[in-house]
């Protein structure tokens, strides 16, 4: 019996020839992502237990991002704990303020993500890195502590669901619309404990940035990981970003690999989507929700704060002004600089938007862009749970950067295609 790409990576990480869904394995970890919310606790746990060591200071990537720059004393203290530890343990890949960025945009950009590897992080959206044909998944602080100390972690091998993305995206429809459609179809627990493998011709025309938007939201369907196979697009990105270009292994799903389910999506027929509160599965086609008034637009986050996203927003906003509070957050300093060099900030400024430094800030109701009771926000983030961006009585609507930009201009949900 053949194996899926997820099974092959996990088998290799455990030094096994074969694994099957349900098997418990001890995986060797290739890369650990650490940020300011879940890592300080992991560091304290290790100290408390007297196992205060780091398995490999080159395989840990640290960046404060959730409350960065520190929004208050408590956040500053979290950052200090992270900073003290990263320096004491001589962590090679440490990105403090100035270099710090939204982790899931930063790691691939800085060349830390390689195909075939097992990557974990104390953040549920760690599944993003699956776009690079890697196994990546989110964990809590205790698992993080264990992995930091030992470089291994146990996993139950997940069964896989195959999503075949047929056809081609039409103008104004983006990978964000694809994943919102998928989650609307299967629900927020439709892929509970499972690997979500994305294949199909529609991926060919999607950049790595666009693919990361899809794998980023695998957790919003309950998935353990999201994964996309290696191709020329992957290779090109890696050639441009990896420091050590040949040191990775490419795994592919076998033709006779077993899938629990296969779901076909005709991407040619997809429309721009908006996920209504309070679940990411609340996706509706824009035609069914046009006209709903918004109070704020938020464009950024690990889902859609990349340069490609900002270019789309700039294209729509050029020569226009926004009707509602609009916050734009480039996800990393490199993206920020790129956007500035490309004069996108001039467009955002003229349109009446505010641009911030890279941060997770408002996406999780942390700071900078918090919603008051009764307010509605059109957001390019990944989650619209109750109270996600502020008051439990506020509402978050998830959409693509194009839909968010167009809606910001009119102050209500609109079809972005009229601006393209």
């Amino acid at each position: 019996m053949g194996m899926t790409i997820t099974e092959k990576i996990l088998a290799a990480s455990a030094g096994k020839k074969n694994v099957e869904p349900g098997d418990l394995i001890d995986a060797k970890i290739d890369c650990i992502m650490c940020h300011d919310v879940t890592t300080p606790a992991a560091i304290s746990m290790l100290k408390e237990k007297g196992i205060d060591k780091v398995f490999d200071n080159k395989k840990i990537v640290v960046t404060p991002d959730h409350f960065q720059p520190a929004k208050d004393i408590k956040s500053a203290e979290l950052h200090k704990r992270l900073d003290d530890w990263a320096r004491a343990k001589k962590i090679k890949n440490y990105y403090p303020l100035g270099k710090a960025g939204v982790c899931h945009a930063l790691l691939p950009e800085q060349g830390h993500i390689k195909p075939g590897e097992v990557i974990i992080g104390g953040d549920s959206h760690t599944c993003t890195y699956g776009a690079f044909a890697a196994f990546s998944t989110g964990i809590g602080s205790t698992d993080l502590a264990a992995a930091i100390a030992t470089g291994t972690l146990w996993f139950r091998v997940p069964s896989s669901i195959k999503f075949v993305l047929n056809g081609k995206l039409s103008k104004g429809v983006y990978s964000k619309d694809v994943i919102l459609d998928v989650i609307a179809k299967i629900g927020t627990d439709g892929a509970l404990y499972k690997a979500m493998e994305f294949v199909g011709p529609a991926l060919k025309s999607m950049s790595m940035e666009a693919r990361m938007t899809i794998t980023n939201m695998a957790i919003e369907a309950g998935g353990k990981n999201g994964i996309i196979g290696f191709d020329d697009v992957t290779k090109k990105y890696l050639d441009e970003h990896l420091k050590d270009k040949k040191a990775y292994k490419v795994y592919e799903s076998d033709a006779d690999a077993k899938y629990e389910q296969t779901i076909e999506i005709n991407c040619s027929k997809l429309e721009p989507m908006v996920a209504f509160p309070h679940l990411p599965s609340g996706g509706k086609e824009i035609g069914d929700c046009k006209g709903l008034a918004m109070n704020q637009a938020y464009i950024g986050s690990c889902t859609n704060g990349r340069i490609e996203d900002l270019r789309i927003v700039a294209k729509i906003m050029k020569g226009k002004t926004v009707k509602i509070r609009t916050i734009i957050v480039p996800a990393t300093p490199v993206i920020w600089k790129q956007a500035m060099d490309e004069k996108l900030f001039d467009i955002f400024y003229a349109a009446g938007c505010v641009v911030s430094a890279p941060t997770c800030g408002a996406c999780l109701g942390g700071f900078m862009g918090i919603l008051a009771a009764g307010e509605k926000c059109i957001s390019t983030t990944n989650r619209n749970f109750v109270g996600r961006m502020g008051s439990p009585k506020s509402e978050v609507y998830l959409a693509s950067p194009a839909t968010a930009a167009a809606s910001a201009i009119e102050g209500k949900l609109v079809d972005c295609r009229k601006y393209l």
Binding site: V37, S124, G140, T142, D143, G390
Partner: protein, 162 residues
């Protein structure tokens, strides 16, 4: 005696269990004061040590924040009984030595305010109010071992010491 607090809801998520606005600390006592705040502001007042939460599908979906489990533990919640759990939350529970109990149709078998007693090892919930015994599939052995060792880190430490 443990009282059941029943929420007939699916997808009770980590933002509802502990809102992200409080994640600028990992102090358990502080997190506990905000436990379940965005779902039920009265929860902390009515929850007594050992009480359990009963809910529908996909409990704990969302963030990887272990703070959700710490908030429940800090609020002295004894266990969460749900139809099923989100993967990361379930794993975090075991790592922290906290019991996630999977029970089909949980909210129809246990009513709000019912007095319950849980035998984790045997997989039996005695519903004293309804005078009924409800069986559930106990956690797998390796998970029980981790919980009995006092969580994953103690478990690892023990392994290293051996």
């Amino acid at each position: 005696m443990a009282k059941a607090h029943v929420y007939k809801r699916d997808h009770i998520n980590t933002d509802e269990i502990i809102p992200a606005r409080y994640l600028n600390t990992d102090n358990v006592a502080e997190l506990a004061t905000h436990c379940m705040e965005d779902l039920d502001t009265g929860f902390i007042k009515k929850c007594k040590p050992g009480d359990c939460i009963v809910a529908g599908d996909d409990f704990g979906c969302g963030s990887s924040r272990e703070h959700a489990v710490w908030a429940l533990q800090g609020a002295k919640v004894g266990a969460v009984i749900a139809n099923n759990f989100a993967r990361i939350f379930y794993r975090n529970c075991i790592n922290c030595g906290f019991y996630p109990i999977e029970l089909t149709d949980a909210t129809s078998k246990i009513k709000d305010g019912d007095e319950v007693e849980i035998d984790y090892k045997k997989g039996v919930i005695t519903n004293k109010t309804q005078k009924k015994e409800i069986t559930f599939k106990p956690l797998p052995d390796f998970a029980i071992e981790i919980i009995n060792d006092g969580g994953l880190l103690e478990h690892i430490k023990k392994g290293t010491a051996d």
